[in-house]
Symmetry: D2
Subunit: 351 residues, 4 copies
């Protein structure tokens, strides 16, 4: 595939370049970046060089569509919707890393992303309907045939993959689910903000967006779909003093309190048996986010609390890979007719 | 007070020295440390000097009782029980930072601390019964008159202070409580262990002791007491890449779903109105552990989830101060007839 | 003293508030901050409250001069020079934390700070001449009587205090001095910049401004003065993944290669014998920046290399205290007729 | 090659497993580890699995020699010398990561490693003479034919590669060289030590082994050799709060003060033109250790100080790869007749 990376100098873009620059199957044919437009890539990133040292270009639908047949958009929310319709019309496939096409309902998007909605006027209802949610292990088949993929971010990915097997099969109760998530600071992006400074986020942990984080509605939409029930849950994001990684601690109530940890583990293993990047750990083995750095894997571990019929599920991912660029790369593989994890057998980075 | 610090070179001991060395009310009269016995304090800690440069001594009941009228024990679990009875008999007051006297029932201690119980033979049932749980804001009156104070550690302190007002007044349901706690690595002590190495705990977050952490039974004991009900809850400790600080995210169900965040905030404020070190934040203000470094404060924040009648409470403390040495210092003040927060108006350390 | 803190919400300002808010000798009478003007202090900084919860005001010479008799300016370079002359005229004493009055020669300032000079037109030559360089242990007497104090920052402080005793007494050669400095990221200030993000500066060390850092000329000016010789040296600043602290490793050549480490240590001790905050460590004891966090101390250690007649001197400071606000506080004490280290006996923060 | 990794569970071993487990050219045929002997690899390292889940074995010359034709020894100093002679006799090639064979003179080793020498009696003079110093870009030819390779560690590698081109060609003076090095904490190994705890090394930088670090003599031996002169220099190691990475700031005096930065850069580029993993940066571009994480590259940058005829050279490496396991892997490639950087085109890990 000839791939345009639009928004190449943020963290999503950098990871995509890192994944794609030596690919034998895909080729970077366009690098878009507003702030750095006009500069040569290798001068900016001497540690992440691309063989032909391409120019970083400003966003142009013509330039993208003439050079590429897939565009991966790593842009702020709202902006993607200003170019995606045109790119699709030109015949490109689009993998969008923003939230613009993650909701079936454009109205819901306008409600949740009201600030962006006030800037970008949208009426691309059909594209919202058509877009496939790019959670690759769950929607593999749909992604393979999609024109537009709304690739989910780190919080939904680390929450949904552990919960979907249990909710879709009616193993845990629909209400009372709690997701307590902990994110490294790179999840906040590369745009300088005070709270993401080393001096501010170093040596401290904090919670934010209590009860009103934008990803709640996204997670609830997917879980409601797979469970055929309206799911409302509690999701608490925390900012942790580390660069990369996401850890989610998920609490639920078992419908059948007789289920053991081993039962639930087998269920999870079966659900993901075709996906080598989803690893279910032995009972009693608990993962660290450190295990998945520079990898596209998700590690899952669980334990049943027999005292009160509850279950705790832990998940860890690299927020910039399985939580962002790596997942997009899986979609790229799928729309290219390649195995989902092709060229994703990365060397994890430990310690 | 003439104060013996026994176990002076661990983190608890170092904080106690830092708090006591320039006190106008208390005086360090004995410094005990096995590994460093025979060395001069200031040679080991040139950045935390004591005026008369005392010798670090090995543990001796005679030396302690001749020099001091209070002993603060910062020793590994089990060891405290080998000297506390003798110290009490000699007329000293004892503030114990270990778990040895935190349970009313010695049998429960032997069960939870079975490993220590297999080493140290104990039958000091009466002392267990007599000991006062040193959660200072809750048991202030009892502590003032106590001979033996079992000072709680960081996890119970950061969990109990937010929960007691709600459980003791029947505001939240007794079951379904979840405590998701995040601790800095200094909570694991100064004894070198592989998992506490910078190279291991840096740049990663992990959970441990899922469902079977020793502090669960301690937290449940106190909550059962204050609520007059048997409480069983879920407690998940996490290790966070920072030196100091503890963050607890606590989830509960309101009995009366009509209660608002503001109602619950007022209740909390009233409960702690006499304690300047307990700060209840405005609704929508969420604390960072960074706010309490080098302070003995606990910051509390809460929010009611009106969608499903749940409440989220956040608490932050400095794990080595309010979670350890600072709390012991409050007890020291109380048994000395001083105001609870005397000389504890520390300069917090930000950023 | 009634003290105006101008630029109160940057790191310099926050430290000043922390030092001053409970002082028995000084009182905060004005808080200036452009971005936060109009807001109440305690709402912004619930963890650093001031008793009367003052308003943050925008910069006004009248408001400052009516409320205060000393102004401490923690402003970006260049801005100080736009208000200092007026404040001095109104009879206030000014302690300036910027570089505006650190050079005797305004021309040199215009050369080194050419960017600022192109924005702010200056011709306050006399004030430049009059201003006293606020390196408190060296210019104590002059500071006591000054109207305008140019308080030095972290790099010069951590470099000059170790070097001045040796250069002023002709112990080390004038040429060939190398200063290799390592700074925590808070030295870069609180204004968000990409390179200071946790995700960028975490888990990496880098050097910057090789051979052309602005502080070189400042350090050389003072060293040339004290040695009565033109000193040119090499200074290499590095950015280290920690919030606070500065470490300088200084290399020089001894004029008399027969001098021992012990000789040089005694010389240093004698030089600073009246300053309890300057601590010379025993030979073979090497400090960590961790020793001085939340303290106004500087620790010095040295070793003579008898193989080749060279000396290595190490210095550590808290970059925001002795390297910034704490040093200004020393000047405030001096101009108030108080002991230099009055109310500066802070509890250091370890670990 | 069939490769035995002896000392597989330290950081050197883990990196070797990570590099070798999916190699198409080399195969892991023995995993030695004392503490973990008898356990299955994948149970200990679920995040770094090996396909056949091998047993970790205790050290046995027979087992190693029957399974493997190369042994990579990642063992504490001294122990290697107890098995290397036997392994060589059995016909294996040995790549030793310890210091045991880095000196031509066994007497010098006994002097520098006196503690180890007092435990392990050695008289393998011939092997010391025969061993090739495994600095791969410099001794490529010799390594290709060697039976025993003494692979250097991070400090010498990051110091020697920048200095050798200048000293071997007489560009910089032999005396007055200063190496100021900064290391991440993983350089201290995985064995728990107090100073390497997160709580101790986090948020602080310190220097150690001033003037008497063991690597000084090793660096001086090689530099004396390449310059045909006795070199004595100053080397100051620092411990930086990061997991991985090493930064060396090197100061020297140019013989010809007319040389420009550009001249020196060209010289360096020419010297390493055949080694794609040695990257010389444009003048004015300064590297971060972050650029080389998970890579086997070394980045070099330099600047000439025309004011006083000095040069500053910066080098960054991943201390566990080019500074340890990656360099050993290069040697493995060379003795296997493969290109030096075969299978070492790793994805660097940024941010």
């Amino acid at each position: 595939m000839n791939v345009a990376i639009v928004g190449a100098t943020g963290y999503g873009g950098l990871q995509l370049v890192s994944l794609l620059r030596r690919s034998k199957k895909h080729k970077i044919t366009f690098l878009g970046g507003e702030r750095s437009a006009g500069l040569k890539w290798n001068n900016l990133y001497p540690f992440l060089t691309i063989d032909n040292n391409p120019l970083i270009e400003s966003l142009s639908i013509d330039a993208i569509s003439q050079s590429s047949n897939v565009a991966i958009l790593s842009l702020p929310n709202g902006i993607s919707s200003t170019i995606t319709p045109s790119l699709i019309k030109k015949g490109l496939k689009v993998i969008d890393l923003s939230a613009d096409y993650r909701y079936k309902s454009l109205e819901l998007w306008k409600e949740v992303y009201s600030q962006e909605a006030s800037i970008y006027e949208r009426n691309d209802h059909e594209l919202c309907q058509e877009a496939v949610y790019g959670l690759t292990e769950i929607y593999k088949k749909e992604i393979s045939k999609a024109r537009l993929i709304a690739s989910p971010g780190c919080y939904p990915t680390s929450s949904l993959l552990p919960l979907i097997p249990f909710l879709s099969q009616g193993i845990i109760e629909n209400d009372g689910i709690i997701i307590d998530s902990k994110s490294g600071t790179s999840g906040g992006g590369r745009n300088p903000k005070e709270n993401l400074l080393f001096a501010e986020s170093g040596e401290g942990i904090s919670a934010y967006s209590i009860l009103n984080h934008r990803h709640v509605s996204e997670i609830e939409q997917i879980l409601s779909q797979v469970s055929d029930n309206k799911i409302t849950l509690q999701f608490t994001p925390h900012l942790v003093p580390m660069v990369r990684g996401m850890f989610s601690t998920i609490y639920g109530r078992l419908k059948d309190p007789g289920l053991t940890s081993e039962d639930c583990k087998i269920l999870l293993e079966n659900y993901y048996r075709n996906f080598s990047n989803v690893v279910v750990l032995p009972i009693g083995t608990y993962p660290s986010t450190k295990w998945v750095r520079n990898s596209n894997n998700i590690y899952l571990s669980l334990k049943v609390d027999s005292r009160n019929g509850r279950i705790i599920i832990l998940s860890v991912i690299d927020n910039l890979l399985k939580g962002q660029a790596g997942q997009a790369y899986q979609s790229l593989n799928l729309i290219s007719g390649l195995p989902i994890n092709n060229e994703l057998d990365l060397k994890n980075f430990y310690p």
